[in-house]
Symmetry: C2
Subunit: 363 residues, 2 copies
């Protein structure tokens, strides 16, 4: 994550993992979620914070989920069901359940299918937010599989040359296991910048880079500028920013997630059905169906080591690979706690009081 998005040291309050897990579980339970699902949701969010993906962890998201449960747009006890199935595929109607919690269940189903026929894909519609989808992809990697997860939903991103939002920030995530190296873990929006990063940027007063957002008439903003406070004054741009820099690729990749998650769920995209919820796809590739699992992991090690051994360009300390800094953050945060913004701590104080649950323990 770019430095500008990190919580400034002076605003950080460190919270131990187990305390965050307990409090988030209690909040979910108070929303009407079953104890088992509450613990699952808390695990997904806490793991995401442990990996340093603050945009999709507790601080940015729990507040939104609480408000959606309170408004009734999220269903705490969804009667989710498989509406069509084949040996390698399934489609789930999530019944407005939070995909943070249903995502691991869908990925488990994909993993079971991949054990049987080599590959399994489960699509999901009528769902809430998925949290950091890299987490769901990692569930496959931990079972000796490659995991691929996509999400579609929202209309905050303009297509290339467009003046009207048509697509969400539609992320793609993939995870693959290695033997001794931290696992490969890619998880990123197909927009120039994740939507949640704009929220983070507002909190920490970070500037926008050229090519991240567009004027309301669709013209890409090509100078540095503070984040607009009013969401109705700008659009987000696809990855690439401008046509010359490849925004048609970000646009096309966003469409790829609409085809996999939305169209293969048999429903309409947000641009045509704004209240249809989010659509997700969860794929597991059983490594053993393709090659020897141990050799796969050894080859992953060699590839990932070669990437981190790459000579850096002037002005840079080292070359990372996707998943490496997330692993390092996890080690640090397990030992030293998760740094939350003091505003988030205040919010926890309020919500814990309101819901009559024990307050979050800080370090």
């Amino acid at each position: 994550m770019l430095e500008r998005f990190k919580v400034p040291i002076e605003d950080q309050v460190r919270v131990p993992e187990d305390s965050l897990r307990e409090t988030v579980t209690a909040v979910f339970e108070k929303m009407g979620v079953t104890p088992e699902d509450a613990a699952l949701g808390a695990d997904v969010l806490t793991m995401t914070d442990l990996r340093g993906v603050e945009t999709h962890g507790v601080s940015n998201m729990l507040r939104a989920y609480v408000s959606q449960y309170n408004q009734g747009t999220l269903n705490p006890r969804p009667d989710w069901r498989v509406v069509r199935e084949s040996p390698g595929t399934a489609v789930i109607d999530a019944d407005r359940g939070l995909a943070v919690i249903l995502g691991p269940k869908a990925m488990d189903m994909a993993i079971e299918k991949a054990r049987e026929v080599g590959v399994g894909i489960v699509t999901m519609f009528n769902a809430g937010h998925s949290g950091g989808i890299g987490h769901h992809a990692m569930l496959a990697a931990k079972q000796d599989m490659v995991g691929l997860v996509t999400t579609a939903g929202g209309v905050q991103v303009v297509p290339t040359f467009g003046a009207e939002g048509r697509l969400g920030t539609n992320p793609i995530a993939m995870a693959a296991p290695a033997k001794t190296e931290p696992f490969f873990l890619y998880d990123a929006a197909t927009s120039a910048i994740a939507g949640n990063k704009l929220n983070l940027a507002r909190r920490v007063d970070a500037d926008m880079e050229p090519g991240w957002i567009a004027e309301r008439d669709g013209t890409p903003i090509m100078e540095e500028r503070p984040v607009p406070q009013d969401r109705d004054t700008y659009w987000q741009l696809p990855l690439g920013g401008t046509r010359e820099m490849g925004s048609h690729k970000g646009y096309g990749l966003a469409m790829l997630t609409e085809v996999l998650g939305t169209m293969l769920s048999g429903v309409l995209p947000s641009m045509l059905d704004p209240t249809g919820g989010s659509k997700h796809s969860f794929t597991a590739y059983n490594i053993a169906a393709f090659t020897d699992v141990d050799e796969f992991k050894e080859k992953m090690d060699r590839m990932l080591q070669m990437l981190r051994d790459t000579r850096p360009a002037p002005g840079h300390d080292r070359v990372l690979y996707p998943g490496l800094s997330e692993y390092e953050e996890e080690q640090d945060r397990r030992a030293n706690g998760i740094p939350l913004h003091k505003e988030v701590i205040e919010w926890f104080g309020d919500i814990c009081g309101e819901l009559s649950i024990p307050t979050l323990r800080t370090m």
Copy 2:
């Protein structure tokens, strides 16, 4: 395609589709390829030219293939075989065959698997170039499936912050059918610009945009500059160009193609095995396993129509969707011929003379 890459009108010679098909078939046959495979390869290349994807059609690629057949790096009669298989998966050792020709066979295999278990993925290693992979994805779309194809190979792209090439331009393609609209067809490199575009740019004297290539020490070049003639003086950058603009996403997506094509083929990436050839993955999703095929296509129509109906930003005539301009080019070129650069026509004159085959008929 950006205007700058198009063949200037004064350098264009129009060639009818059937003539190009015949001549390319004859060239392949003279390379030792079977008549059936030669016709298949000519079909893939001609279709790619018809769609206006000049980078991957006859003009840019046939010359390279002829030279690889002549050098013996490509095998005209590959003894390709499935080395591991499950109901939904297969791994193919291509025996140095050209993936332009083997790609449709692999996709056919994926389609058959998808008919049985809902989804099929076939990976391929030890292969030659795949041509425009969008073509292979379209084969699935024409069978009422969604097609996904990836390619990995080469080391011309630096990872974010890196000063050494580690990845190929590793494209991703997806195709999905619609009812009355031209099919969705996405096909693009995960690098800021396709490698073949640099060749086109050299031929038509086009400038590089900021963020397309890097100095040899890995520093992104952020001003417009003519294409360097010497390939050893620059690196290509991942989609995004710089870290601020999202190059870690282009880098991560390139890795995604290495995991799918290379790792799930059980082999090493080009960065560790430069002579290992290209690695591909071919996935077919059987729409009928997920939803009603007719409804799928109607929903695709509505989505694609809404995208093309999007109000354009100032300075732009219209909003496209991936596959729309390719379809329009195909209609035009079927009627009016395929515009080849006069230099390409000269090359055809030479090669047809050399191989004693009838020369290419122009319009």
